[in-house]
Subunit: 457 residues, 2 copies
């Protein structure tokens, strides 16, 4: 029965805020397969990763055991700056859709980075500082992750070098300026500062770059610089762990009102948002304590779960990273141009891939135009201009609510609203102008992508 006594927004107090992250792996019967060292083909050891990643993140990456991982006070202090995020009851959207469903969303966009990425940036920068690291490198495509890490490095007093995909740096000079304001060095990739960049430029002088190339440059710099490490904003288990603060805050708030969602919905790129949102709810599901449905939403243009293969593959296009057992379209898959830059990844978090493989997660792929239609309706109703990535979840939540209207069922829907669209307005312009196109990969594109998956097991 629809509960109309819940406030429009719920903010946890400082006392109520979670002091631990939730490690969903603790209750997974089937742990995901180990990462493989690309040089040896053998499972990665912690030592294999130490020259690239911070020690504590490696420990967390390998931790299959502890359900709760304490958040250090130094990170809690930073979380206070931009957390708690509000849990919003979407009364206005419900009214607009004329649905009997109760819709809730967790909004992670009320910080200057504009997205949930800051949750893991804070943690990774903190651990680097604790280890005596003085400098970090990373890559950024759409720019949210680079901005988040810039903020975290400014807060903890670390130097940061961001390799930003050149085409994105040129299209989004303002994103670059935010990072510079937070003190980061932003280098369009490919560039002349690394051998990886110089090699690409020699072959393709006019290239706009790629995430794969930017990763190569960032890793090379981390390996060749004193007291420097590389950090990544999605896919890996420790990133999902940090993002569990999203779901944990949600659960604490919902528990106050005695509400259990029927379905939890989130967009999926590398999986950090969705994995973090569902973590504590999935933990209970794996223990048989609830029957919640979990729905991941991906763009039809990059349908990793709905059309991909479950196989070992490289995490980057340049085949430099460890191999992960995951759903993948092939590390050589090249999606059509699509504005949800954060969802254009060929692979998927190994944790989420395993849960999907085991039937705990559903996946839907949605078309870009229908996503922007839902985004625009949402903006008018709820007053938030969503990021295109986030709007994939709005589309699916809207469809669930409309299904409730047809069936008369009063479901409780929770979705993750990962961020704002202030830097994505050229995409909104295309939608407003009626020039946006919808694309799904052709069979040929898929076949070409699958051909890039290495033949392992």
């Amino acid at each position: 029965m629809a509960n109309t006594s819940i406030p429009y927004k719920t903010y946890l107090t400082e006392q109520e805020m979670p002091r631990y992250w939730y490690n969903v792996k603790a209750h997974m019967k089937n742990k995901h397969a180990p990462f493989l060292n690309p040089a040896t083909g053998e499972p990665c050891t912690k030592d294999d990763l130490r020259s690239v990643f911070c020690d504590e993140c490696i420990e967390q990456e390998f931790n299959d055991r502890d359900e709760y991982v304490a958040i250090p006070q130094g990170i809690l202090d930073f979380y206070k700056m931009f957390r708690p995020s509000p849990l919003v009851r979407a009364y206005f959207l419900e009214r607009f859709l004329d649905t009997p469903a109760e819709i809730y969303y967790k909004f992670e966009g009320n910080n200057t980075s504009g997205s949930h990425k800051l949750n893991s940036a804070a943690a990774q920068a903190y651990y680097a500082k604790q280890q005596g690291i003085t400098r970090l490198t990373t890559e950024t495509g759409a720019g949210q992750w680079g901005t988040a890490l810039s903020m975290a490095c400014a807060f903890y007093g670390l130097q940061l070098c961001v390799y930003m995909v050149k085409a994105s740096a040129e299209q989004k000079p303002h994103r670059r300026e935010v990072m510079r304001t937070f003190g980061a060095e932003v280098i369009p990739s490919p560039g002349n500062t690394t051998s990886a960049g110089r090699a690409i430029l020699a072959r393709f002088p006019d290239t706009g770059g790629s995430l794969g190339c930017a990763i190569s440059e960032a890793v090379e710099t981390a390996l060749s610089t004193q007291n420097c490490r590389y950090v990544l904003g999605s896919v890996l288990d420790h990133v999902l762990l940090h993002q569990s603060v999203i779901g944990t805050e949600c659960k604490i708030a919902l528990d106050k009102y005695g509400i259990v969602p029927d379905v939890v919905i989130g967009c999926m790129g590398g999986g950090s948002n969705f994995g973090g949102l569902i973590a504590p709810f999935m933990g209970e599901r794996l223990q048989g304590k609830n029957e919640i449905r979990f729905v991941g939403v991906e763009p039809r243009g990059c349908p990793t779960l709905t059309r991909g293969k479950f196989a070992y593959d490289y995490c980057d296009a340049a085949k430099m990273t460890p191999l992960a057992k995951m759903y993948t379209l092939g590390c050589g898959f090249m999606p059509s141009p699509n504005h949800a830059g954060g969802l254009r990844y060929h692979g998927m978090s190994p944790v989420l891939s395993q849960l999907y493989h085991d039937g705990y997660i559903e996946a839907v792929a949605v078309g870009q135009k229908s996503v922007f239609e839902a985004a625009t309706d949402f903006a008018k109703c709820e007053g938030i201009l969503p990021a295109p990535e986030s709007a994939h979840a709005i589309r699916a939540a809207t469809d669930e609510a409309l299904e409730c209207k047809r069936s008369g069922k009063k479901k409780v829907i929770l979705f993750g609203l990962t961020g704002t669209g202030y830097f994505d307005l050229s995409a909104y312009k295309q939608y407003n102008d009626g020039t946006m196109t919808d694309e799904a990969p052709t069979d040929e594109m898929l076949i070409k992508g699958f051909a890039s998956i290495p033949a392992i097991r």
Copy 2:
């Protein structure tokens, strides 16, 4: 004595949120002089204004009597979407400045319009809807007001036509796109849709437009369109009344902790933010119940209070609007280019002008480079990228806190952080690149401005 037990952020609950606006005029012994009808030179009557403004706003404009004005439920419902705004204890800024002062700021930027402007946009759109008006017009320069009104019109189901200063529309296409996403029609001004626009274009075909011209076009369209009114986002008394929700929320939150600020600081353009922030505190001050200092901060490039005259002047450059008794640099004053577009107004709210004239308000003018220096430090400490306008208040609050460090005094400082700088990154780029200039008006510029003040009394 510094109180360190206050949470980093305080959000009021729905039950605690104010249900009334605070009308500071009720306790002013010297009310401001009446507006004058530009045609007759006589005090404006309510009827003089009915063809342009909504009836309820006119009633509020003339209300010198009621200390509290109830906020209608239909506006409270909309306020829930983006309010309460957080009152933040700036622990990180305090630590960075190494000051014994307690610093608090009220952050109004956590909504898609990115500023406090939505508080009055909500009210004005609601009253228009109640009156049976179907269409509104307005002008926008920097774009915050136009965006806010677009959101409000989308919420209440009103059509909206925004005349956007052409130079701004071209420099900030993304601002324009946000308004379009909320369903507003955005017309670069001057344009061919009004006789005012056509007249300007005939004389100056290459002009980038001006706020004065955009006002003329918006008013002309309101007068010539069925069921249409014009709305304004600052200067007028009813706008300050709506913005008092900022100060009232602040005061309710501070009262919970038994805190009375020693000084309240805000940036001043037309005065809507500063007037709203100080309202309930000033009301007590006027009754002798506190000794709070009120400091308005203006850009050195447009020093209305610190270098202007207290005189009757037109509210617009085109001399079409009523005359107001206010501090003014002259309606013909043309400031040097300055990035804080929202603070480039030649005049000042008549309420605030009177309070300044009577000694209740102090004013300081600050240079642009020092403003961006404070903005950048603030962003790194507090994780919010401020609008250049808002950063004027940060500059002055920082200076107060540094003075406390020198003197050892533990003052309580409250300032208004009106909005975010996501659409002002070209200004940040200039600052980051070291190409930003600082400018104050020359004597010649001031003399030319003063010559445009009409000779009335």
